[in-house]
């Protein structure tokens, strides 16, 4: 029904805790050069560009004004999409499907190390009339949600800690990761309490980096090089910005996004048809919550299935083999692109030491972070 869009080139920098010797523009440039080389096309052929940014994170208003130089996008259509990386990709999928353009580029980046007090910035996303004046640390929202999720589903704090432990250890095999560590669930459980029941080890740390993708419409693929990975389904959704209106234990945005993506991709049974997944784990319990929302685990089952090894790299449905945000570092809205990147690398067989065997269909899921209930889902395949 719709012409498919494929990712034909990827470029990225490794994620790092700090990157004092480069500017964010230089990070983007490195990723862009690699992406164009990978795709075998130059910037001249690109018709439209999307930049994933949020002003307050960048420290500059209209931040996408500063991306054209390093992308080769001068005098071309460039816009900011203030959304997670997957929703940004969806924007380009639609633009390409209008047939106005053949090729498109998306960039996402993080220079979080520039932010003196991330929590102060994040607090500005709380409702200015009803929430922000209460003066709480934004992570309390995640703490409340975690408590509601554990109470409602019967998953445990310890199972969430196991997510953190597994993802940090998965990151040891990922040269892109900023926070690989050999931590046990006990280490996580004993880490400093932050926002009950969240502990320091449950929370992803921030990282710097940049990712650029080149996308193409299916009908022009014969004209260019690169190894296409098809976006077979994509969905994005907004729940509500008002925390008090949410069913806190549910990730409705993930349920809705997955529903649309699965419908588009013709997926009737996610557990059977999805080979592996990269899901948001900005807070450890979110991975469990998202897996249940995606239908990859039944209600209340995700913790148990994790313990049984289903989601480990050697299990039947590896989740976050990259290390996730906990292992790689959290890069705000670029995190969605990082999840898609891992799916692309795995499908192409380019994941090195952490390569999963026999994967044909991968799922990437993103969440925009505190205090939103917004995110996207993409289903990708090599055919």
């Amino acid at each position: 029904m719709f012409e498919r869009v494929a990712i034909v080139g990827v470029g990225y920098t490794p994620l790092r805790c700090i990157s004092p010797e480069v500017s964010y523009r230089e990070l983007i440039f490195e990723a862009a050069v690699k992406a164009y080389n990978d795709a075998g096309v130059g910037p001249n052929g690109i018709g439209t560009f999307v930049s994933i940014t949020e002003d307050y994170i960048e420290g500059t208003a209209i931040a996408d004004e500063y991306v054209p130089d390093q992308l080769g996008a001068v005098l071309k259509p460039v816009r900011t999409v203030t959304a997670d990386g997957i929703t940004g990709i969806a924007s380009l999928v639609m633009q390409l499907q209008t047939e106005q353009f053949d090729l498109a580029v998306i960039e996402g980046h993080s220079k979080a190390s520039n932010i003196d007090y991330p929590a102060h910035i994040e607090a500005f996303a709380l409702d200015p009339l009803y929430a922000r004046p209460l003066g709480f640390h934004p992570n309390y929202v995640a703490g409340m949600e975690m408590r509601a999720f554990l109470d409602e589903t019967g998953n445990t704090e310890r199972q969430a800690a196991m997510v953190a432990s597994l993802n940090r250890r998965n990151a040891l095999s990922n040269p892109l990761a900023a926070y690989p560590a050999n931590l046990t669930a006990d280490d996580i459980m004993n880490s400093r309490p932050e926002a009950e029941p969240l502990k320091r080890g449950d929370i992803a740390s921030l990282a710097d980096g940049a990712i650029v993708f080149v996308l193409a419409r299916e009908s022009i693929l014969s004209r260019i090089g690169g190894e296409p990975v098809f976006i077979n389904g994509i969905g994005w959704s907004q729940d509500t910005p008002n925390i008090e209106e949410r069913e806190l234990h549910r990730a409705r945005y993930a349920e809705q996004s997955a529903g649309r993506a699965y419908r588009m991709a013709g997926i009737g049974s996610p557990v059977a048809e999805i080979d592996f997944a990269e899901v948001d784990d900005t807070f450890s319990y979110k991975q469990l919550q998202h897996l249940e929302a995606l239908g990859l685990a039944g209600p209340g089952e995700s913790g148990r299935l994790l313990q049984e090894g289903l989601f480990s790299p050697t299990g039947d449905l590896p989740v976050n083999a990259s290390g996730g945000n906990l292992g790689c570092g959290h890069t705000y809205d670029m995190a969605g692109l990082r999840s898609v990147l891992e799916v692309v690398l795995q499908l192409r067989g380019q994941a090195g030491e952490r390569q999963l065997a026999d994967v044909k269909t991968g799922l990437a899921q993103s969440w925009r972070g505190i205090p939103t209930a917004t995110g996207g889902v993409a289903v990708l395949g090599i055919e």
């Binding site: 029904m1 719709f2 012409e3 949020e54 002003d55 307050y56 994170i57 208003a61 209209i62 996408d64 004004e65 460039v78 816009r79 900011t80 999409v81 203030t82 959304a83 929703t87 969806a90 924007s91 999928v93 639609m94 633009q95 499907q97 209008t98 047939e99 106005q100 910035i121 994040e122 500005f124 996303a125 409702d127 200015p128 009339l129 969905g235 994005w236 959704s237 907004q238 729940d239 509500t240 910005p241 008002n242 409705r252 809705q256 649309r260 925009r368 939103t372 917004t374």
Partner: protein
């Protein structure tokens, strides 16, 4: 692709431009969206997706402004995207709405452009 030349604007709504409006960004978005839907003879249930545009966050004084007034823009439970090109965002909202529909992915789209350059306090 058959949809490129078959996208139409069905309705429009506009709030009064004024300094120091007492309405919050959510309320301004809601007023314009409601007027546009009434003009088109539709309800929010008829809308498949929502696009919003707004200029720099610093004008509204909130981080992630698109998220903040999403409820006023009718985006609950819908695919929602705020996109932005600085001051050109108003016109750009139409462009974005256009490709949501011209792509064939959606049949109807609500485009909401919002700006609140005075603080929301002391309202309500």
């Amino acid at each position: 692709m058959p949809y490129k030349n078959k996208v139409a604007v069905l309705g429009a709504g506009l709030t009064k431009f004024m300094r120091r409006a007492l309405e919050t960004p959510k309320e301004l978005a809601f007023e314009a969206a409601k007027t546009a839907l009434e003009d088109a003879g539709m309800t929010i249930e008829d809308i498949d997706c929502v696009v919003s545009v707004t200029a720099p966050e610093a004008f509204d004084g909130v981080h992630m402004n698109g998220e903040y007034f999403a409820d006023g823009a009718g985006a609950w439970g819908k695919p929602y995207m705020r996109t932005y090109v600085g001051g050109g965002s108003g016109v750009f909202g139409l462009v974005t709405g256009w490709y949501h529909i011209a792509s064939g992915q959606f049949d109807t789209c609500l485009v909401v452009a919002e700006e609140k350059m005075s603080p929301a306090l002391p309202h309500p």
